[in-house]
Amino acid sequence: MSLERRNIDIEPAMTDLRSRTLSRLPGDFSRLVYLASSRDLSTGRYSHDGLAFHFSETVASKAMAACHTEVFDRLLFCSLEELIEELGKYISSTEVRPGDVLRSWKHLGSYRVTIPLECDEMAAEVFLSNVKIALAILQRRHESVLQDEQSA
């Protein structure tokens, strides 16, 4: 089956996913984390009950995989400045303290699981390197804000 044909099959599911779920999330990094966390790490299959109900489990999984790649590509090719902004939006949207998120992401390398399955090795390397730098910059900014607050 050609790629074009497969995309036609999953396009309605992708549109549904974009408009009902992904658009409600604050920024592309949040979308990337959401999509990656909907994936079973053992099988690589994605699950989304609503989408599977309207279409089928296979179509829902394929649509989610395609959207995952789409979001990943956008983040891969955005500038470091934009990536920092997206990462900042994601961190603010979590209910955890920014310092804790930054520390755990940096030390555990949790962001590594956000890479789509069908991803070029070089693209993954570039993305992971950029996230690493973005995290370091955000941590520096966070530390300087804390220092300012303490000295005030």
Partner: protein
């Protein structure tokens, strides 16, 4: 006679380095590919050329040098150096794949022009030398300063690829699609 000895030694040394590069690129990497075939089958998300632009593009460095401390500058340089070298190695591998494919087809062909083949082999050797020099250059100075020379080298690589494809088309039209559309066409912005 003894005055010529240093030149002879230098010549031999250069030849040995060249031979090692060719060995490393053609034979070693070919074996590595056989051992890890899954890598070449992975569907590419982004084109190799775009990734080159992403790695060597000036925007990120401008931002980092403007907005961050020297520690981040150093981290950025270190990270991009690793990426740039990895990317150059892949580019070298792709050119080597074309060369191997060409060699395989040329061995069976009866319509070979010796001068063209020699010129092609020389260009390929020079490309390997330049590619390896670039890796050293990037290690020494970092990818930001080496951006222009990388762009020029890759333009040359793209020309080399064009020449290979023309030759392949002449020798064996069926095997022309050996290198996919993701091959770099040498458009790193300087």
């Amino acid at each position: 006679m003894s005055q010529l000895l240093p030149y002879l030694f230098l010549g031999l040394l250069l030849f040995a380095v060249l031979a090692w590069w060719v060995w490393d690129t053609i034979v070693h990497r070919a074996a590595a590919e056989v051992l890890a075939p899954h890598r070449s089958r992975v569907k590419s998300v982004a084109s190799h050329r775009d990734l080159g632009e992403r790695i060597f593009g000036p925007e990120d460095w401008d931002f980092v040098s403007r907005e961050t401390s020297w520690e981040i500058h150093r981290m950025f340089q270190r990270e991009r150096t690793v990426l740039a070298i990895s990317w150059l190695r892949r580019t070298r591998l792709q050119v080597s794949q074309v060369m191997r494919a060409h060699l395989a087809v040329a061995q069976k062909s009866e319509d070979l022009k010796l001068t063209t083949e020699i010129r092609l082999a020389m260009s390929y050797l020079l490309f390997l030398v330049l590619c390896n020099s670039l890796i050293g250059w990037i290690r020494l100075l970092g990818p930001v300063r080496a951006r222009k020379i990388v762009g020029q080298t890759l333009q040359w690589a793209a020309q080399l690829r064009g020449a290979f494809e023309q030759l392949m088309a002449r020798v064996d039209p069926e095997s022309c699609g050996v290198v996919g559309p993701n091959f770099n066409r040498g458009t790193v912005r300087s």
